[in-house]
Symmetry: C2
Subunit: 351 residues, 2 copies
């Protein structure tokens, strides 16, 4: 008895079903869950009787026992920086839905981008015998990925890539380039980039794509206007303040993440600058609030839900012995009021 008051209902096991249906446990198992080895199937009549017993008694298979016996848990683990980041939460929703469709369950854990946490959480998941891992917080710090490879643990990266490992990501370089083209078109010259954490390929690639296109246009961004920092609201505020302290305010800011952009909005507001009039601001990810802000935020939409789904597909393919190709999903620029205006000196083509 586990509880002081209520007695947990006794589990209904295969043995109960077998007794009720007048067959052996073996037959019950095969009638309910199919025949695997070279064995022969129960007769239709027997199977029907067993199924009836199972339904009547309310049988449900014990996943622990099944997993122990089959050495497959049909459980996938996912590591994320943190789930309060709606981008990762969205990816996880995709993962969960796709896993369910494929007959798997999922567990998820926050690692806060800390290599020790990553290692620890992965270990716990492996103790629970997950069949594979989906890594949403990939970075080249720590040796977790090499370790997983060495141990033969199947995994795929999602959202962030790390060279040499299978991954499902958005085309961040292209996304950054789209933003650069948009801001060039509006006539901006003095821009800043809030580039996110240096260990995350998302921010790195978005910034790189932007800067590449920018210098291809013959313009430069001085180092003090490319600031790395956390991907959240506080990080954006902090990074924007760094830029504003370093010199004259830019006329346009590219934040590689919508929440970073919103934090930047706070810092700009405090500095007396109006987003959408004095300064253009572009984020990345198109989270649900971006379109509804008092000044709607321009951003790059990445198919995050699909990213999660594809990651599961890839992982399942690996589990089935395949060697799937990495997946690169296309981004889409969404121009809104925060950047849909020209710099003061150039013609104002929008609103």
């Amino acid at each position: 008895m586990r509880q002081g008051v209520t007695v947990p209902a006794a589990r209904v096991t295969l043995r109960d079903i077998a007794r009720d249906a007048g067959v052996s446990v073996t037959t019950a198992s095969r009638a309910l869950h199919g025949v695997t080895g070279g064995a022969r199937a129960p007769s239709a009549a027997t199977a029907a009787r067993v199924r009836a017993s199972a339904a009547r008694l309310g049988y449900s298979r014990d996943q622990l026992a099944t997993g122990l016996r089959t050495r497959r848990s049909r459980l996938l683990g996912m590591l994320v920086p943190r789930l309060t980041d709606p981008v990762l939460a969205t990816i996880y929703e995709g993962v969960e839905a796709a896993a369910r469709d494929a007959g798997y369950r999922t567990v998820v854990a926050n690692t806060f981008d800390d290599p020790d946490e990553q290692r620890a959480r992965a270990a716990v998941m492996l103790d629970h015998r997950v069949d594979g891992l989906i890594i949403g917080d990939g970075s080249d710090r720590g040796d977790l990925l090499a370790d997983l490879d060495r141990r033969g643990v199947p995994f795929v990266l999602v959202s962030r890539r790390v060279d040499g490992h299978p991954a499902v990501i958005g085309d961040d370089v292209t996304g950054g380039r789209l933003v650069a083209e948009h801001l060039l078109e509006r006539g901006h010259e003095r821009v800043a980039v809030l580039a996110g954490e240096p260990y995350a390929s998302t921010g790195r690639d978005r910034a790189a794509g932007f800067l590449e296109r920018w210098s291809a246009a013959g313009r430069t961004v001085p180092a003090e206007r490319v600031v790395h920092g956390p991907f959240d609201v506080a990080g954006g505020r902090w990074a924007m303040q760094r830029v504003l302290e370093a010199g004259p305010p830019p006329t346009a800011v590219f934040a590689v993440n919508d929440f970073t952009a919103i934090g930047a909005m706070g810092a700009l507001r405090d500095a007396g600058l109006r987003v959408g009039r004095d300064v253009a601001l572009v984020g990345y990810n198109d989270v649900s609030i971006s379109a509804e802000l008092p000044v709607p935020l321009s951003t790059v939409a990445a198919p995050n839900d699909e990213m999660g789904r594809r990651a599961v597909e890839l992982l399942v393919e690996i589990l089935d012995g395949g060697r799937p190709d990495p997946v690169l999903l296309s981004p889409r620029l969404r121009v809104r009021a925060s950047s849909a205006f020209g710099v003061p000196s150039s013609p104002d083509r929008y609103r």
Copy 2:
């Protein structure tokens, strides 16, 4: 062999440790994980030898086997409407952290507030032999809770309450009252309430607390200015539009959720109304972006992280045979620019 290329490293089991240390499996188990029954402990020397073997061979306990034998999985399941809601994600972070501290692991699932999903996800978790459930999407629809009670499954509600079941919630009635007092003080008379989903106690209680205090001040809110709807950005936009269509715009709006409030911002903006000047807006939850918006959003802060932690404490207490009291956490009003002004006719005491 599970993979095409890599062979998963053979699991190190207790048997390997026992062989390596020259003891029986029993002794190895007791040396590593402690003595439970009336048995005697291994000698210090033996225990040390076993631990050394375990460390050298890289042993880690198989949770499936342990769970099967002990009939305890040390796994807690949590049901949430959806994880992309940062409020629930924050609560889950608290749950995860507290569970870990208490020696439990967690799994979480989205139910989209759909009774069928709730039932299905709970069933899956019970198949995985979770020791208990934390219900973040409680409602009086469906008979899941009664069913769990009948089956003796330990659970606690969090965030939302349902009469007759243990719960850890914020004091939503008081929170709503605080908002009413704030808006009364600023001289508002024509207000609207975006009240969230009718089946969720959070929105219901917040709205009730507000309306109670409001009518105690001798003022009324006509039915067409109390609109129920989803808790997200789109729902807020929709509900706000309903209000605006129904009559002259209110001078103040209480949205029972920050995201609903942000959606309302969009609708107000489209109607040519400026939040923080033409209309006051107050949300609920104090999510991270609220303070950084171009017009910072007034809101009520609820200790969501702590809510998750306390829910785990309660559940663990129940698992240990206790009958803990429900927990009610205090909210705090945070006045920001979106509502920190008086109505046009009254003196503008701020900014």
